[in-house]
Structure formats: structure tokens, C-alpha cells
């Protein structure tokens, strides 16, 4: 199997963090993974995207020309990357910020109001990216909820149990979203 995922958004939205979680989970369960970050010069507000490739075989180029999935945290990301998603691929959008009504013929579209869900259910916008990831792993079953929880625990343990639990909740509500 091979899954080529582009995750894209503004700097500060947790784009790279989300990509890392997927890549780390994959490696932990014995799959091959590559993670390639791309940054603009700004720390906040500039563009950020990462290319995550997960496979059961050795991976060639870590740079994705044709993606299986696009996870777009902002509108620019759609304009930039939607065309790269293959036929029958997956496009996930942050429906809080996507203004236009896009048409993606041949691709499955999943809308996730990630920021409003984060604020309404958790009182904190920072975990919006984890909600998106939760929904993503329901689409693509090669990484389980438990495995991603393990990665979250590892990542956020030093910030305390409260933060870890909030992130677990974010993952769950993303996973349960219709």
C-alpha cells in the first residue's frame, strides 16, 4: 500500500505537527514513512505544508507530485494543491474558513468545521488539527485510533495530563464526525 498525503495551511495551525503524528504512528506500527516539511519564512501566517508518505514498501521520492489525500486547513491550500489529488482521492477541508463552494469531480470530499468544533467542544482552538487527523484516520484505516493516542501521549506528556486528555478528546470527536 501507499498513501501520499499533503497537509497544508497557515503557519501556526499545527500543519507540521499533524503530519508528524501520522508519520510517527506509521513508523511505530512497522510501516515506512517519510515526512517532508515546507515552510515560508514567517512563523505565523505564512504558508506551511508537509508531504507525508506512508507505505509498506521502501519509499522513493519524499516529494509528492500526485497525492492520494489532501488535508487543507485554509483556502489557499485548496487553490494550491487540489489539482494534485488523484482521481478517486480524498480532499478534507476546514469548512470554517473555506468560503467558496468547490467542485472536485471524481474525488471524495469531507468537510470538517475543525476550529468551531475545537472551540465548542474543547474550549481551545489549538487542537483543531487533531480533530482533522481523527477524522482522517477513520477514512484511512491503516492507523488505528489507539496508535494515534499513543503518539499524542508521547508528544504532549510533558505538557501535562490535562493537555493529553484534551487532545484525546479532539481525536475522538474528529473520529466520530459524520
Amino acid at each position: 500500500m501507499i498513501e501520499r498525503i499533503i497537509i497544508s495551511g497557515f503557519g501556526g495551525q499545527g500543519v507540521l505537527s499533524a503530519g508528524l503524528m501520522l508519520a510517527e504512528s506509521a513508523v511505530h506500527i512497522g510501516l515506512e514513512a517519510t515526512f517532508m516539511p515546507s515552510y515560508g519564512i514567517e512563523m505565523r501566517g505564512g504558508t506551511a505544508n508537509c508531504h507525508v508518505i506512508i507505505s509498506d514498501k521502501k519509499i522513493g521520492s519524499p516529494i509528492i507530485s500526485e497525492a492520494d489525500s489532501l488535508i487543507a486547513f485554509n483556502e489557499q491550500s485548496i487553490l494550491k494543491f487540489a489539482a494534485r489529488v488523484r482521481d478517486k482521492g480524498l480532499i478534507m477541508l476546514n469548512s470554517c474558513v473555506v468560503q467558496k463552494d468547490y467542485d472536485f469531480p471524481g474525488r471524495k470530499v469531507v468537510m470538517v468545521p475543525m476550529e468551531s468544533m475545537a472551540i465548542d467542544s474543547l474550549g481551545n482552538q489549538k487542537m483543531a488539527n487533531v480533530i482533522m487527523i481523527g477524522r482522517f484516520i477513520r477514512e484511512k484505516a491503516f492507523i488505528t485510533l489507539d496508535e494515534l493516542k499513543r503518539v499524542i501521549n508521547e508528544k504532549f506528556l510533558k505538557k501535562g495530563e490535562k493537555v493529553v486528555n484534551l487532545n484525546y478528546q479532539a481525536l475522538e470527536i474528529g473520529y466520530q464526525l459524520q
Binding site: L20, A23, E24, V27, E32, A33, T34, F35, M36, P37, I59, G60, S61, P62, I63, S65
Partner: protein
Amino acid sequence: MAKQMLMKGNIALAEGAVIAGCRYYFGYPITPQNEIPEYMATRLPEVGGVFVQAESELASINMLLGAAAAGARAMTTTSSPGFSLMQEGVSYLAACHLPCLMANVQRGGPGLGNIAASQADYFQAVKGGGHGDYRLIVLAPNSPQEMMDFAILGYELSDKYLVPALILSDGVIGLMMESVTVRDDYVPKPPEKPWALTGCKGRKKNVIRSLWLDEDGVIINNKKLQAKYREIEKNEVRYEEYMTDDADVIAVAYGLSSRIARTVAENMRNEGLKVGVIRPITLYPYPYLRIAELASRVKSMLVVEMCAGQMVEDVRLAVNGKVPVELYGMPGGEFPEESEVYSRLNALLKRG
């Protein structure tokens, strides 16, 4: 049991150096290799080593020379414009027969360029960016795993021949993360260094120099250097081949380009198209002989590199006119497109 973890190329290189016994790092910040000095700044004190952020690349390379002369496993890293600043020191290191490890995580150039990956420093690395008749052992990793492995191999080869070693990487291999088996079971066994400057109380003094104003000092030194280089060329060539046995067209590529070429070759083989890839691992000593052998069995070769055409000259030298050698070169920090590599290889297959 060595652990397996997702690791960034630059970090794998730095940790590989530490595993190999590097205890001295002198460097200056430049993108896309800043992770290396940042990592070494906290890691080296943990193992009783020393990290110095020098005031410039010129200072860094000279500090490296000093540490190497004192017999230590020491290191500096930089990116393209920084490596240009180091060239005088590189020539001195080579002339003085000093082992050390350097890395150039290539970025777009010439000039200050950009922070994207490139392979445009090939000439500088293997043909001598510094003055005089010298060579470096040049290793070209194409993965974070190799960044770690070649830090270790670089020190071993450098200490064995007393020739400086250079890891020629690029901004993608440096920044990407991939599964790495950490070599924490490696035990460094550096050779004795009786020539090192360690304080000469109780022994004859050692002299490390590259200046001889007499009639034949420089001539003699050059003979010594050349003799070493012939040994290295005989014994240390390394390369990797994919599907070359029955290939009609072979791509030649190193670093990131080799990963792209390999992906395309695999896809083409799935369509029944007979292509293969040879990936030089040592850029010096270069696998001229092997490429010449392959040239007698194929219709043509395609060199894929992220520059306007540098390694292609060595491939043409090896092939010596036997078959056409074409170039797909992307200068200025642009990546070779898989689709374009496919078209070029396909066109060569059809030409016959």
C-alpha cells in the same frame, strides 16, 4: 537492540557523528542545515564534548583544522555559500593530511541563492573548490539513514587514509524525516595518531604543515597525496544499482535525484519497460569503471541531477562515447519531476 525512529536527516547526521566519536563541532548557522549546530549545542556537552558557534565559516574550518591537528574527531557543517567560504581551509586540511568530517547540505545557487535543495556543488566537492591538487572523500547520502551511516563511514575512511571526508547532502535529505535504525551499538575505534599535536614532552616534536619553500617539499607532499588517492580509488568506490542487469536505458543519479529516479524506474518496470538506475554513493572516488561496464550493455544513459549539469561530465568521461549520455538537469533549487524523468527515459528507450 538498536531502536528504530522517525528522524530528520540533519539530526541523523549529527547523532551519527556523535556515535562515531565526534566530540568537537565548530560551525556557523545557515539554512538548510541549522538543525545540526542546534542539535550539537546541547548534545555535545552531554557526552563531554565541545560545541563552538564560530564567528564565520572561515573561522569554523580553521578551528576544525586545529582540532584535527590535535588528533580529535571533529566536524563542521554548512551549506553552499558557507562551503565556498571554507575552501582555503579545505585545501589546507587536505595538504596537511588531516582527517575530519565536513558536510555541505546543498541549497540553490549560485550566489546567496535560495533555501531549496540543489546538487550544484558537485564540482566544488569533487573537482576541488579549493586550490591545488587535492581530493576529498565525498559521500552522497540519499536518506536520513545514510546521513547517520555516512557520518560513521566518513570518519572511518578519513582516519584510515588521513584525507578529509565530505558528506554532500541537500536541503531535502537534510530536512526530511524517515525511519532510521539508530546505530547506538557502534563502538568507534579510531586509529592511533602518532603524528598529532598533543604536546611533545618526552617525544620528538610533530610538525603539521603545508608550506615548504625549499626545492622539493611541495613536490614530495604531492607525491604522498597522489599515492593515497590511487589507493582510495582502488579500494573505496561505492555505488548501488537497481534493476540494471537487463536494462536498456540506465539513469545515473545521486542523493534526492536517485530516489526520484528509482521511483520512476520501478513504475516503468511495472509497465514492462527495461530501465535501471545506478546510484553513485562515493562521488570521490567515482565509479567510473562500473559505469563504463554498464555503458557497454545499454542503449543510452540519462543523468538526473539538480543543477545545470555537473556529474554528467564524469558520466560522459566514464562512458567515453560508447553510448549517448543525456542530461535532465534542474538548476536553481527546482526538483526533477517524476513525469519528466519518465518521458525522458521513455524517449531514450524508443530511440533504440
